[in-house]
């Protein structure tokens, strides 16, 4: 970060705002894990960190390194693509595992399986 002082003010400001916004979204997602009531509600909270949270941090990083190295630094885009493809798989697996267990335990709050699989 030794070159940070060479950045023009507008760039330093937007990088800082984006970083804070991204970190803030990840923090709100983590708070959601504590505050929401049931498992099915808590599963929505990490999505804040993996979408807007990581998006803002990546844009800030690309902006910072593109300006410091005076060339386009784009390979962070790959992180966004891979996170967007892989996170839903994890969330879906967790939710389906919870639903399966609730159905086996006869929990009334979850919907029954469709007619074809009963």
């Amino acid at each position: 970060m030794t070159h940070a002082a060479e950045l023009p003010a507008w760039a330093a400001l937007s990088v800082a705002v984006l970083l804070l916004l991204g970190a803030g979204m990840a923090l709100v997602g983590a708070v959601g894990l504590l505050r929401l009531r049931s498992f099915y509600e808590r599963v929505h909270a990490p999505a804040l960190g993996t979408t807007l949270g990581i998006g803002c941090v990546l844009v800030a990083s690309m902006l910072f390194f593109s300006l410091v190295q005076t060339r386009f630094v784009l390979h962070e885009v790959l992180i966004a693509v891979l996170v967007v493809i892989t996170t839903p798989v994890t969330l879906m697996l967790l939710t389906r595992a919870a639903l399966n267990r609730d159905r086996i335990e006869g929990n009334e709050a979850v919907p029954p399986p469709p007619r074809s699989r009963r």
């Binding site: 505050r35 929505h44 999505a47 979408t51 390979h75 939710t95 389906r96 639903l99 919907p111």
Partner: protein, 163 residues
């Protein structure tokens, strides 16, 4: 062409990913990246996944833009729900079963990714015999409204692309 490069789209993605990672478009990088892309494409072919048919690619940019806008909008909505004082118990979350007309496997996978990546909704289950999906919604006001949103905002355009 199909025999030399069984999955051209995946090969193209791997080549672009390789060039981004090495941050160079020199002939050496392109050559090595092409080898990696071809190997990945052959490896996928040996798993024999169902073949994707893409049509109406002109719909894709508009769809991606709408996904981006929707993700940002629901980030704010879910952040509000989390930070709201807990005593107001008016919000309820729940499951919605939505009948789908789409049967293309990659279309369904894309719909699952879009819905789950959007905060506030998680795709839970799909039943191929009935053609219905199970969606969990954090802030559930009206079940019919959600069925309409999924079908009109996402399914119609995904069907244009994948079917």
């Amino acid at each position: 062409m199909r025999r030399v490069l069984p999955h051209p789209l995946l090969a193209l993605f791997l080549l672009v990913a390789w060039l981004l990672l090495v941050e160079s478009v020199s002939p050496g990088a392109v050559l090595l990246g092409s080898v990696v892309a071809a190997c990945g494409s052959w490896a996928l072919a040996s798993l024999a996944p169902p073949r994707a048919r893409l049509r109406r690619l002109a719909v894709v940019p508009g769809l991606l833009l709408d996904v981006l806008v929707e993700v940002m909008r629901s980030n704010v909505a879910v952040a509000r729900i989390i930070m709201r004082p807990a005593d107001r118990g008016a919000r309820r979350s729940g499951f919605v079963r939505i009948p789908l007309d789409m049967r293309a496997p990659y279309g369904l996978a894309s719909l699952a990714c879009i819905l789950t990546a959007t905060p506030g909704t998680v795709w839970v289950d799909y039943d191929s015999a009935e053609g219905t999906m199970l969606l969990h919604v954090l802030d559930l006001v009206d079940e019919a409204e959600w069925a309409r949103i999924v079908k009109e905002r996402w399914e119609r355009r995904l069907m244009e692309i994948f079917e």
